[in-house]
Symmetry: C2
Subunit: 562 residues, 2 copies
Amino acid sequence: MLTTAIKPNTYQDSVSLMLLSQQLSALPGVNKVSVMMGTPANKDILRATGFDSPELASAQPGDLVLGVDVEDGTDVAYVVTQAEEALKNQASRSASSGLRTARSLARALKIAPSANLALVSIPGQYVADEVAGLLDRDLNVMIFSDNVSIEDELQLKRTAHERGLLLMGPDCGTASIHGVPLAFANAVSGGNIGIVGASGTGVQEVMAQIDQLGGGVSNAIGLGGRDLGADIGGIMCLQALATLENDPTTSTIVIISKPPAPAVRKRVESYAQRLTKPVVAVFLGEKPDVATNGNLVYAYTLADAAARAVELAGRGRPAFGPTQRWIKALYTGGTLANEAAMLIRDQLGVIDSDPAHAQGYVLRSGGHEIIDLGDDAYTQGRPHPMIDPTARAERLPAVFDDEGTAVVLLDIVIGFGAADDPAGALVPAIEEGLERAAQAGRQVVVVASVCGTSRDFQGYADQVAKLRDAHVTVLPNNAAAVRHALALLATSSRPSTAGETEPTPPRIAQLLEDGPTVLNIGLRSFAETLATAGVATVQYDWAPVAGGDSRLAGLLRALDNA
Amino acid sequence: MLTTAIKPNTYQDSVSLMLLSQQLSALPGVNKVSVMMGTPANKDILRATGFDSPELASAQPGDLVLGVDVEDGTDVAYVVTQAEEALKNQASRSASSGLRTARSLARALKIAPSANLALVSIPGQYVADEVAGLLDRDLNVMIFSDNVSIEDELQLKRTAHERGLLLMGPDCGTASIHGVPLAFANAVSGGNIGIVGASGTGVQEVMAQIDQLGGGVSNAIGLGGRDLGADIGGIMCLQALATLENDPTTSTIVIISKPPAPAVRKRVESYAQRLTKPVVAVFLGEKPDVATNGNLVYAYTLADAAARAVELAGRGRPAFGPTQRWIKALYTGGTLANEAAMLIRDQLGVIDSDPAHAQGYVLRSGGHEIIDLGDDAYTQGRPHPMIDPTARAERLPAVFDDEGTAVVLLDIVIGFGAADDPAGALVPAIEEGLERAAQAGRQVVVVASVCGTSRDFQGYADQVAKLRDAHVTVLPNNAAAVRHALALLATSSRPSTAGETEPTPPRIAQLLEDGPTVLNIGLRSFAETLATAGVATVQYDWAPVAGGDSRLAGLLRALDNA
């Protein structure tokens, strides 16, 4: 039996309605229940699927409409009661999450006067008006909603830019600010990789892969999918790049987008190349012609972009002195030493000044030195350095005391046959070496990778933790460690001031520095998640003006402006 | 005070001696103790560092020599007692590990008649003779020792090849057979990636990276560093490739080596291309000109090689029927769908037959179909498929019932905002679909990646486990999943019989099938590790014939052969 029921003036967001429909459809004796707001389009849908009634005809956009298909003998009133019950439960779940709610914007801002970010997920046709008001109140805005016209997007982004605010979206599904995941986002480790993304799941995939590689994310700023198109011209992309360039927690930047419009691409690339930080660009859908272009590194896939970013990101910008120009590598694994030599030779185009490779030197060029301590020259009368780590520990002081040393590069091989605690055996020499170099006014960076697994008896995670505690930067594999060492030298040689980057507008800087206090407008689940995670959040239970009657809303607006 | 002490006829392996030296040097009142066998070279070292005495002059290669440097007042006899104590402890540690020991090869083989692999780590000059005897007794051999002449290596490898035995090494630091790590090796997950490696830490790095990417290793066969040089000509490399081609637990092969000699390279590459399994080659030190060459995929770094291998390795060779030619992808993440389309377009060179991309089709070419279920066409009146996984579950039956479907490709996006259990919601449809296809005589392969982290509330590992339990092949990221799907189609289209590969000789096949029973000759620590891990192992406490007097040993051998 098909019938309809109406609950007047009961606005609910679309996700709540979907969940409610599913829940009611699962009741005994019920075939299917569709719960929708009474907009003309929704009423058409209900009519097309067989529902029709005088109540439906007279339902308003602000009314809740239930299209109920029950088996004969099932009481429709029972279904409506269940719906009311579910709505009440939803409200009390919100309350129990500690979420504060308001029925008007003014009230919401009274509850949370320090709100610095509005998260907007209301139907697209209402977005332009609502967001214009939010920007007026100097709020940064993330628009999750889609179905916003490109003209409205351009106008909103121009306004935001003029007022020094971030406008993420429309159709921005993912962002992460100051470690707070917004809308659809993964819980990743904090770190120093900043992301600028015109793609929701693209940002999610890159963030998740960075996390899996042991890296972390500082801020991920969403743009919406059209920002790098010809119409918008990358307004927010440039703002986000400038913001991350100035963000002290970010040391490397990733841009994720489908291939930008040619003119926009030129603008974005030349802007990115003026930054002091390395930038990884993945313009998904095209095979990059070149691998690098100054500080710009191109990636083909999302996973590649994450890997490159982890390789490039370090503990901020190294402050190498004028003498510190070289990588000094002490390896225990011969093949790992050779891999390092290959990567350094290929990237720097250097020629080995000692091709005979005497004394275990695998590369010697300028002051770059890669030594394989497993070479016969070092194992006469003593065990291999994988078995006995003291041989390497004894050589470390001289490396730290060398004025030319910028980066000390190490491999830690664990597993059967290897020493019980190869990382621990090096830590005292590393700590003392760093300390002595610091006293001499030199910041030396130690970079390492651990070759092994969580099943190895030395414990992969333990070895990594020991190294990190001793201020060693640990990369997920040897090639990544070598590339990181090279990136440190390259970054250090770039000018240290970003002459071309304007300071970050105060409202954006404050958002990144303090973290978001969120005004959530629309989908309650976003606010509940944030509140549960301890993020200061207020839920504005938005409903369309004049119950969604656009003619009436227009009249009201006209009166308001009069 | 410098002095020497001698323990006649007490052969110890070099690692035991190193550890003993360290232990004694740490005693109170002791400056340094060097414990060595009394070979002429070692006696020279001791003399050069200030030790000299009539006892040292008369010490024989089979005698243990202690060079003792103590503070005045420390009793040298005390140091010698401590040394004896330490040697006794070592012996009892061996006993407590359950390790059986023998003082002759004949006795060792009587204890372990089923031994099928000898692990040899005696001084290099004794290797050729000893290993010749082991091959005579039909034992596969892994030679850890270095300092073996290239002529001896060639002779031993020829003999091994003729007798149908594996000869890994000399200077082979790493191998893993049937899940048993040998010498220096990491504890990695079992799996279907077989490795052929002419490089110790190269094999370790690739194995460890495979493990970190969620893949696993079937067998890793070491070659020693010179096998692909012009002198040896890749004898064992070809044998290892043939062995892994025939090994039912291996579905993908990785070759790791420095760049081979040109003639050998040609031989190895053309051999590899005749195999039915995909082969990843990393010839470390050169940038590959091409990415692929038939079933041969080239990698630049060790980490790249591991990533490619994980992408290529599946659950063995798929048995697709003649109609099964296409990838059917149902995506919830728009960017992930676009990444899939890019990779398929680029690899297959296909042109989209539906560039308008109606109905959420991101790619449609031949029967290849990639649909973005987050497209507006699917989200009118229902929540986004990341929120509500039922939309995709409902579409799966038709995909499994499609006769053209070879591979079903899926993304599972977790994190805030996403469904509580997106993998679990698909499992019933996947299991039923696979079952129905199987009943219709079609093997369909489901490939997926999970976009998320271990911190996401759905739990990355949980989602992966649910998928794997439902026979889904899970790759570490979306690009890897797409490449795996493409590899399945490519592998399936190769001839299913390896016309050119001879059957694996029975002694090698038995080693891989049953796993190693190890006869350890040399470093006791290798045997202790194996015994502790529950591997059937017997320790042959090898000592040089005639106490290391090579003239006398020659005479004895001549008598023996007479």
